[in-house]
Symmetry: C2
Subunit: 278 residues, 2 copies
């Protein structure tokens, strides 16, 4: 990669920055296809975020910003325009400036998850989905599933108020969706999503009782520290179809490229070029 005076920047804002993956995914792709742009890490503590975000978008060669922890929620109130996914999830991880200078935010975690399902032949329309974990990423997935025509959804979080609040935000945008909260029993669902951190540590309990997942159901995972989490291993042992966490990651990046107005590509191409260490 050659940075020069014509390079456009995508600010990757978060703190700490050490575990950032985006520079090693986007930049090899930009280099490979001749896009003169670079994702650069910008370590920003919470108390400085509002000032930094405003200033970043004063720069002439700032194509956009990727927003990660701990700013994904606090960024929302700094936007002039938020997508339905942002409003339902209450979180945002991509910001660009429109032609009038307004800050526009979107959120493609859920979109990446649903695109990955579609690539694997899972059709969300009319299906029944259980989303376990109703934080930022679970909310984003629920929002994208609702937009994709899921008929009914179960929401579970150990903090029951989080599941109830998500149910309310979903129904405000999708009044015909059937929503139930309070149970993580996967029986009766066509799709089971782990959107909790369970699986990041080897001795975590499973987020659902895998023995009660329907035969023929699909199991999706957001944890990406390992490719085969205990949940996915147990689901595959039962012959269920699965989606690994990094599929969501690579599936969402074409959506971010489109959002930033940059040439897009396939998740497979991005995965082949990425310089990640697993």
């Amino acid at each position: 990669m050659q940075i020069d005076g014509r390079t456009e920047l995508i600010a990757h804002l978060g703190w700490p920055t050490h575990s950032f993956k985006a520079p090693m995914i986007y930049n090899p792709y930009f280099e490979s296809v001749g896009v003169n742009a670079a994702v650069v890490p910008m370590g920003c503590r919470p108390e400085h975020f509002a000032a930094v975000l405003r200033s970043v978008f004063l720069l002439e060669n700032m194509r956009g910003a990727l927003i990660t922890m701990p700013h994904k929620v606090s960024v929302v109130e700094l936007l002039q325009e938020a997508s339905p996914a942002v409003r339902i999830a209450g979180a945002c991880n991509a910001v660009r400036r429109d032609a009038q200078g307004a800050l526009v935010g979107d959120m493609f975690d859920g979109e990446g998850f649903v695109r990955g399902l579609a690539h694997k032949g899972f059709a969300p329309r009319g299906a029944r989905a259980l989303v376990v974990g109703c934080g930022g990423v679970g909310s984003a997935i629920a929002a994208s599933l609702a937009r994709s025509g899921i008929a009914s959804m179960g929401l579970f979080d150990v903090k029951s108020e989080c599941a109830d609040a998500l149910a309310g935000r979903l129904l405000a945008h999708h009044p015909r969706l059937a929503v139930a909260t309070g149970a993580n029993d996967p029986a009766g669902f066509d799709l089971v999503v782990n959107a909790t951190p369970l699986g990041m540590n080897p001795d975590d309990p499973l987020p659902v009782d895998v023995s009660r997942i329907e035969p023929g159901a699909f199991v999706g995972e957001v944890v990406m520290q390992t490719e085969r989490t205990p949940l996915l291993a147990a689901a595959e042992a039962r012959g269920l179809r699965v989606q690994v966490g990094t599929d969501m990651l690579f599936e969402m990046i074409p959506a971010y490229l489109e959002f930033f107005g940059l040439p897009s590509t396939t998740p497979e191409h991005l995965r082949a070029l990425a310089r990640l260490q697993y």
Copy 2:
């Protein structure tokens, strides 16, 4: 170059950015020696500069900033600490944050020029120098020459008030320096410096009458659009020793690396690695 979550940034602030050279000099060097840092262009219009500079230094991984046109003068009043070179030149092109968070500015154009002379065997101590052109770079060179022990200096600018003002700033820091203004006759000087833009265009007049330069004098150039400017060509035709504009550029970069607390190297090493198009 691989940018990742541990990459430190050096913001290269200016507008327009298209002709920036620093990323193509610093970044190949950083890559070559395994320093995880990157110079990134940040296009900033004058009206946003103060806000952007403050915010840039709120970032945790910001190692420093290179300041170029049109901000080299306006940055000075935003500093908490300015070197004598900055105070004499009235301009600054490098800023870092000290341990207490104060913004510290310095200016190494003149230092680069004088280091280049020293590498070529020219000893400034006790010598007589003519500096033609008393803007930012001429002032910086005059300041560094004065600090290096030049005994007397002639200053000339088509705007005579610029030469007089520089004389005043020099004398405030170097009261024993002999300074004369108002003439660009090179007779009687051991060193003749072109710090004007004359030579950037092929039909520019020469900045001094080359036929009147002393035999054995040294001629230095700041114009770096071409290696052999008409001034240098005429001086070499007379058998005089010369310094090309890009020597100043590569000689100053070790000083910037030291200022930013990064491993430094030789100008020759930097020149061999640089990916500049001349």
